[in-house]
Structure formats: C-alpha cells, structure tokens
C-alpha cells in the first residue's frame, strides 16, 4: 500500500468507527426509553385493575386508586385548553397576519421566546402569588387549569405560527384578489389550511401539560382527595354547573409523585401503575397528533 492509500484506509476506518459510535449512542438513548417503560411495566402492570381506576386514594396501598386523579387531569386539561388555545391561536394569527413591523411587535416576539424558556415551576410561583392570593381563585381546578394554560401558551403560539407560515403567500393573494378582507382570508383560508398542524401543536402542548407536576404542587394541589368534584352538569336550567371550577384538585402526576415519595414499597407499585396510565395518556396524545398531521398532510400539499 502506498502511504496515501494507507492514509485513506485509516480515515475510512475512523469514519466507520464514528458512524458506529453515533448509532450506538442513538440506540443507548432508545434503550433508556425502553428501560423506563419496562421498569414501569415490571413494577406496575400487576397493579392495574378496575379497582385501581375507580378507587380513591387510601392509607392502605392495596385499596388505593386513582379515580380522583384521572378525573382531575381531564378537568384541568379542559380549563387549560379553553384558556390557552383561543388565546394562543389568536396571538399567532395577530403576529403572522396583522402585526405591523414595529417595536411593540418585536416586544411580543422576544417575550414569547423568553417565556418558552422560563422553568415551569416559576409559572407555579406566579400563579400562587397572583391567582391564589391576589385574585382569590383558591387552590382550585380553575387556578390549576389557568396555570398550565399560561405555561403552554408560548408553545401554542409558536406551533400555530409555524403552521400559519406554511400556507404559501400566493393562496392569501388569491383570496385578497377576489376582494376578501383580511379576516375573511384568515378565517376561510389561512386557518383551515393550517388546521392539521395547528391541531397537532395543540395536542402536543396539552400532552406536555398532562405531565406537568411542579407548577401544580406550587399552587397547592392536594394529593389526598377522597371525593370527586362537583359534576359539571345539574338538574335545573341551565344544566351546566361551574361549581367544580372552585373545588380542590389533584391530577395524575401529583398522585404518582405522592406515592413515589413514600417510603413503603407497596406505594411504589401504585406509583408505577399510575405512571403507566400517565404514560399511556401522553403517548396516546402524541400518537393522535402524529395521525392528524399525516392525515392533513395528505389532504393539503402545497
């Protein structure tokens, strides 16, 4: 072999080694995911039962369950979605379609970028000081939902903006050329055509909120709630009731945290089982998001 051939051979083997290393690291990362799911299943799968899903927390690990937790999660998510989605989509539409090029717009943009980097527990502190003690909303579903709503607002805005931006300008021009107003263009074209990505972003943001624990601990989630909140309906007119908004709340991750931080191993089993359900919830949301994205992408391609 000539020296240059030897050099090439060495470079090539280094190259292969490097590729191998990259692959290994990737596999390690995926193995961690596998180990995590495996551990949860190993510990918690046997605990999953109808009784577990329908029981309230208890001092006795074998009798404890998560009914108040999953009901709580659903109700908190409802408030979160109702708070964050209209606000976030509205803000995104404003920034993409309406905002003039001035300092106020720039302020909003910088602000959103920075908010996305604020640790979630800080949102909890803000909610504690403002919602709980200033606005007297109490340590309630309403407070919890609004807290998470504020937390995911930047995510919703960023995802929606990206979605809106993918609608090509010539489609907007087509609408304007027909005499459409700005709002008509947005309502009839820009938003419908980016709906797939917007929905995907919403679901991903909500799946993030489902797993959030720290800010809810800060605003005062209870981990031992042996009753369900007031039902959101009632017998008499107007048939919907908002009393539940002011009930004390708990959610799935809080329940899991409570069990994991107890010394008894039996509670750890409960934690694992709750973790499995929590994981299933978030993964299901992610899966739905992926399906929606694929569905819409097939329907509209520019």
């Amino acid at each position: 072999m000539t020296p240059i051939q030897r050099k090439i051979a060495r470079h090539k083997s280094l190259d292969r080694f490097f590729a191998f290393e990259g692959l290994t690291v990737m596999i390690v990362a995926l193995l961690v995911l596998l180990a995590l799911v495996g551990q949860l299943m190993f510990d918690g799968l046997t605990r999953l039962s109808w009784q577990f899903l329908t029981s309230f927390p208890s001092r006795f690990p074998a009798q404890a369950g998560i009914v108040s937790a999953w009901v709580g999660t659903i109700l908190v998510m409802l408030v979160t979605a109702l708070a964050a989605i209209p606000l976030g989509v509205g803000a995104a539409i404003y920034l993409e379609e309406y905002a003039p090029n001035n300092w106020a717009t720039e302020l909003i943009e910088i602000n959103i970028a920075n908010l996305a980097g604020v640790p979630s527990i800080v949102y909890g502190l803000m909610a504690l000081g403002l919602l709980v003690y200033q606005f007297h909303l109490g340590q309630s579903f309403l407070t919890a939902g609004l807290t998470l709503g504020m937390l995911i607002l930047p995510m919703v805005i960023i995802a929606t903006r990206e979605a809106i931006r993918s609608v090509p300008p010539y489609v907007r021009e087509a609408a304007y050329a027909l005499g459409a107003t700005k709002w008509q263009t947005v309502r009839d074209h820009v938003v419908p055509y980016s709906m797939g990505s917007i929905l995907t972003g919403m679901i991903l943001a909500l799946s993030r909120a489902v797993g959030e624990t720290a800010p809810l601990i800060t605003v005062g989630a209870l981990s031992f709630i042996a009753f369900l909140p007031h039902p959101p309906w009632q017998e008499a007119f107007p048939f919907v009731s908002f009393e539940w908004l002011f009930d004390p709340f708990t959610v799935m991750p809080i329940q899991m945290f409570n069990w994991v931080s107890r010394p008894q191993e039996e509670f750890h089993v409960n934690a694992a089982a709750a973790g499995l359900i929590l994981l299933a919830m978030t993964l299901a949301m992610n899966a739905v998001a992926i399906v929606i994205r694929a569905r819409f992408r097939k329907r509209i391609h520019w």
Binding site: M26, L33, L87, P119, I121, T213
Partner: protein, 314 residues
Amino acid sequence: MEANVVEMPVEQKAVCMSRPSRFAPRLQERAIERLLQLAAFASVAITFGIVGVLAYESVLFFQEVSIADFLTDRQWTPLFADAHYGILPLVSGTLVTTLVALLVAIPMGSLIAIYLSEYASRKVRECVKPALELLSAVPTVVYGYFALLFVTPALQHIWPGLPGFNMLSAGLVIGFMIVPYVSSVSEDAMRAVPTYLREGAFALGATRMQTALRVVFPSALSGITAAYVLGVSRAIGETMVVAIAAGMQPTLTLNPLEPAATMTAYIVQVSLGDVPHGSVGYRTIFATGLMLLSMTLLFNIAGHVLKKRYRQVY
C-alpha cells in the same frame, strides 16, 4: 388613435366607492384585529405577572433578610428555629445536577444529531426522530420514578456506598430527558447547512466524519449553541426528577454522589408543607424562584451572545 377614444359619458364626478353597506364589515374587521392584538399582548401580561410576583415577594423577603446573607451564607435552613438564608447550597445543587445532565446530553445529543443529519438514511431518520421525541414526551415525574427506583439501584451496584438520594442519578436521568431537545435542534441546524459546503469538502477527499466535524458542525454552530442553551434551561429548571431522586436536604457540595436539594426541589418541598402565607418561609420560595429565573435568563443571554458570534451567512 387618440381621436378614436370615446370616454363613457360621465355626468357624475368622482363617485365614492365606499358604499354605506361596507361600513359594518369594516367595523367588524377593526374589532377582530383589536381582539387578536389583545390575545398577543396576553403573553406580555404573563411576563409582567411573573416578574411582578417574584419581585414583589422578594422585596418583602429582602426586607427581613439581607441580600449579602442570601448570597454568601453557606447554610439554607429557613424553616428551622436557627434560620439561615444562604442560597449557595441550593445553587450548588442545581449546578451539579445541571452539569451532570449536560455531560450526558451534549455529547449524546450532538452525536445523534450528526448521525441523523450526516449518516442516517431518510428512512432511519423518520423512524428514529419520533422515537427520540417520545423521550421528551415522558412526564418528568415518571423520570423521577425511573431515577429513584431504577438508576440509583443500578448505580449502587457500581458504588455500593451510594446513598438512595443522590445528584448523580438525578442528573443522569435529566441528561437523557434533554437529549432529544439537543439532538433535534442541532440536527435542524446541521441540515440547514447547504449541500455545496459539504460537496466542497468531499471534493477535497474528506470522509463523512471529517466533513461533519470540520465543515458542517462549525457552520451550524450558531444553531447548535441554541440547542445547548435550550438543554441548559431545561436542566436548570427541571424539578420533579431532582425532588424525587436527589433528596430535599440543602447541602453545599459539589460531589454528585451526595444527596442535595436544588432550588426547584426546595420550592416543591415548601409548597408541600404548610408554611403560612405571608411568612418569611413563604417568601423564601419567591426569592429562590427569582434566583432560578435570573440564572436561566443569564444562560439564555449568554447563549444569545454566542449564537450571534457564531452566526454564519451562507
């Protein structure tokens, strides 16, 4: 030609095109724009809320505790009879877990990004990326469970003396948790490097590795810095993993094998107890929160400066 031109007979002078029927829609347009604008400003209101609450409570806190003590005292025992308010133990806890996390996330995230961007086929990329993204979709409390009941016992096989609560396993798990943040943002940055730069290197006989490390990586450094900053912010602010697996005991130590509380874990600890609203103990969490926010902000600004410095224009 001009002679041919016959203008339409127009008695009416300039006719105003805006008919009254158009007035109502115009008003509606304006109202909608205002509404959307209000939504956009809501995010600014949130920032004001955060800064306002933290600043307000911290000012009250610092009326009772001197800033000098807060920054230099080596003990943090605000809920004890002999109260000390030195934030250093909490800061050290945060820094150690963050550092451990970054030691995992940055090499791993970067290598994965290089592999996916420069080596992997489209098919591999499309399978692996969502799978990696799942890593960041797992709720942090689940990671806490994993750290306490899987990683720590596993590490105890290696270091038999390792305490049940320790910063090492918390940091490691946070590291794995933020790998997808680092890898996906870095990969985007590297894939944005134009092909002709790579082709230039290949034409000179460079291997893929050389191209990746000497051409693509440096060109994408601005975006990669952003990825690292994102990772740092996540690690600093991470709460549940440390609260579950690293212990709640404020200890001024740089040894990751020891248990120690971070700033976030302390806030959780106080929130779980029943410290009366308005007491100094209650205000400590806001002062801690302010410290946490300042640190995150500091790293973000540093990252922004670096990002600007490395910015390349293709």
